[in-house]
């Protein structure tokens, strides 16, 4: 023990570590910073989980388009603890997205982005962008079929940028199709480029936290005045500041432990998502979806009117830039939420929008249901005759991919369970023959006999048939 102390003293003397880091660790923090100040450090801890598990994964993962899938299968199913490491990397990513979001909302609600902490906010916005980019590129590195098709979708969206769109799409693929060059590029971006940016900006972010001090919990009636704030804050710290370590930092460590524990437990119970089919661009049985944290974005693009789509695809990713303006425009004044009702409104509205869009993205009613099965005789109400044949046609012609009957089928178009109660035969005929914005015209496809059978089936879809079908199912 004595020897260890001796060695440490020698290292410390020659390197000056405790002289350099001690004051940083014990930098004074204002009183009253409680549990709501732990989310920034928790995001950092989630990032460290990602670094450690990411490096571990990289020791086995092969970043070649031909072998990545096999190496991930090996990690998931054969390598000792590989499944757990992959799960931790997946849930660590989710934790990072959630925590960075909560941290940003906390900073916004307490007005901590105001003078003199504008740069803290700006560097944080860059980090937010990096985290989302990491999420997206990480999903591609799974390099299963979803990974391949997500790359195609990303390239197509990049292609909508005016003038340079085609170049961007070309660079996304690393050529003019998905191939050997595609995955390696995303690997380099995910593993070297963005992490380097994150390390750099975390360094800047932390330096600024020390330089400007942790924002004191806001009090109504104490507006920020750039002329006097710094002197007032210095006075506050001199009067009642407490050292970060250990007086305030213990909460960060305890909460950080909870984050680590949650990530490990979730990974152990739920595992990372299973890989879909191999990355063969010739397999069409694919249904590409973004990972959960980008489902809301998927919904925005799917639900927006077609004429706005080109603008949204280009402008929405740039909208993150609006966050840069916040501390530039509002850098002074009240910080307390009781005096900033608009900021509360913005957070409530943003949360509600993202949650609503997320639910829509999860349901994805705009996607045809390719798993739809032929309707059962019970639902149809008969097992023979034109109505029954019409129901078979309803399935074979793909109607059921978009329309549901009795809870079966897609939701792209209106539910037709009781269509006969609201549309006449003539109205249905016009609709089937001519189609609409989101429905093909079946006039050129169906024979008149087929149309008659389809009409017989749809004409029998009323509330009466539906309730008797339900009764029949309940009896069985």
């Amino acid at each position: 023990m004595k020897l260890l102390t001796c060695i440490w003293n020698w290292i410390d003397d020659r390197s000056g570590i405790s002289r350099a880091l001690g004051p940083l660790l014990r930098h004074p923090v204002p009183p009253g910073t409680g549990w709501k100040y732990v989310f920034g450090s928790a995001t950092l801890i989630a990032f460290l989980i990602q670094v450690v598990t990411g490096v571990a994964l990289a020791t086995v993962y092969v970043s070649s388009a031909g072998s990545a899938y096999k190496s991930l299968e090996f990690i998931s199913h054969q390598a000792t603890l590989g499944w757990l490491i992959r799960g931790m990397h997946y849930f660590g990513a989710s934790a990072m997205v959630i925590l960075v979001g909560i941290h940003m909302f906390r900073v916004f609600l307490t007005g901590s982005y105001k003078f003199p902490r504008e740069l803290n906010w700006l560097s944080g916005v860059v980090l937010l962008g990096c985290v989302l980019m990491m999420g997206f590129t990480g999903q591609l590195l799974r390099w299963d079929q979803d990974g391949v098709w997500s790359t195609v979708i990303a390239a197509e969206q990049a292609g909508r940028v005016p003038v340079i769109g085609h170049w961007l799409a070309h660079l996304t693929f690393g050529g003019d199709t998905v191939g050997g060059a595609t995955l390696s590029r995303f690997f380099a971006i995910h593993v070297f480029v963005i992490p380097a940016l994150i390390f750099g900006f975390i360094g800047l972010h932390l330096y600024l936290v020390i330089h400007n001090g942790i924002s004191e919990p806001p009090k109504a009636g104490h507006p920020v005045d750039p002329r006097t704030y710094r002197a007032w804050y210095k006075e506050l710290l001199n009067r009642s500041g407490r050292p970060f370590f250990p007086d305030a930092g213990w909460r960060d460590v305890v909460f950080g432990f909870a984050v680590v524990a949650a990530v490990v437990v979730l990974a152990a119970i739920f595992h990372a998502p299973e890989l879909s089919q191999p990355p063969n661009p010739a397999i069409v049985q694919a249904q590409p979806r973004p990972d959960w944290y980008l489902l809301w974005y998927y919904a925005v693009l799917a639900l927006s009117p077609h004429y706005m789509e080109n603008y949204l695809m280009v402008l929405l990713p740039l909208a993150i830039g609006l966050l840069f303006l916040l501390p530039v425009v509002f850098n002074r004044g009240e910080r307390s939420i009781s005096r900033r009702p608009w900021s509360v409104g913005v957070v409530v509205l943003a949360t509600m929008s993202v949650v609503t869009l997320w639910v829509q993205g999860k349901r994805a009613t705009w996607s045809p249901d390719f798993d739809a099965q032929p309707l059962k005789a019970q639902t149809i109400g008969t097992a023979s005759g034109p109505v029954y044949e019409g129901a078979q046609l309803f399935f074979r012609q793909g109607c059921e991919n978009c329309h549901s009957i009795g809870g079966q089928g897609g939701h792209r178009g209106p539910d037709l369970t009781t269509v006969a109660d609201r549309l006449t035969t003539e109205q249905m005929t016009v609709r089937i023959l001519n189609g609409g914005t989101n429905m093909p015209a079946f006039g050129p496809i169906l024979t008149s006999e087929g149309i008659n059978r389809l009409l017989a089936f749809l004409g029998s879809r009323s509330i009466n048939t539906h309730t008797s079908a339900k009764r029949e199912t309940a009896r069985n």
Binding site: V152, E156, G179, P288, R396, G436
Partner: protein, 168 residues
């Protein structure tokens, strides 16, 4: 700027020169490393990918009036690309000698469209884009019809010309 009292203009200009030397050489070093790296990264923009005719099978394999999926290899697959070098098309035999090949990619956002033989429609799983059997838009968000790839018949085999993924 003149930090040397009485030193005259020499110290002034010498220090200014040293500042230029500092930044100049640092900048030159960055350029020396940066130019080849940027050239390497952006090379795909300037490289022309050769297009190749790939056989997808003898004519007899494709009954008239049917649409089937065929797969073939990219124009210049890297040795490490594995199955990623595969690509596909919907091949339609409209008559004894006429073939049409459609890209698998929806013209909306590039998702893989599926052929529903009974309905005679191509359907996209992403946002519900639908195309008629001739590739024209039937419904949904696609801004234009399915892209057609060049097809030819050589020595009794159907051949498709490898083509870029169509970007709208």
């Amino acid at each position: 700027m003149n930090l040397k009292p009485g030193g005259g203009g020499f110290a002034h200009t010498r220090r200014e020169l040293l500042v230029i030397v500092n930044f100049g050489f640092a900048g030159l070093s960055a350029l020396l490393v940066g130019i080849p790296v940027i050239g390497f990264l952006f090379a795909p923009l300037f490289e022309k990918t050769a297009r190749e005719w790939r056989s997808v099978g003898p004519i007899d394999r494709f009954p008239a009036g049917q649409t089937v999926e065929v797969s073939f290899e990219d124009a210049s697959p890297q040795p490490w690309a594995g199955v990623s070098a595969e690509t596909g098309a919907w091949l339609q035999r409209s008559s004894a000698t006429e073939f049409v090949a459609f890209s698998l990619n929806c013209s909306h956002l590039g998702c893989p469209v599926r052929w529903r033989a009974d309905a005679k429609l191509f359907m996209c799983p992403c946002h519900g884009g639908i195309y008629y059997s001739n590739g024209s838009v039937a419904a949904g968000p696609p801004p234009r019809g399915l892209t057609r790839y060049p097809v030819r018949i050589r020595d009794g085999n159907v051949e498709i010309l490898t083509s870029p993924i169509p970007v709208t």
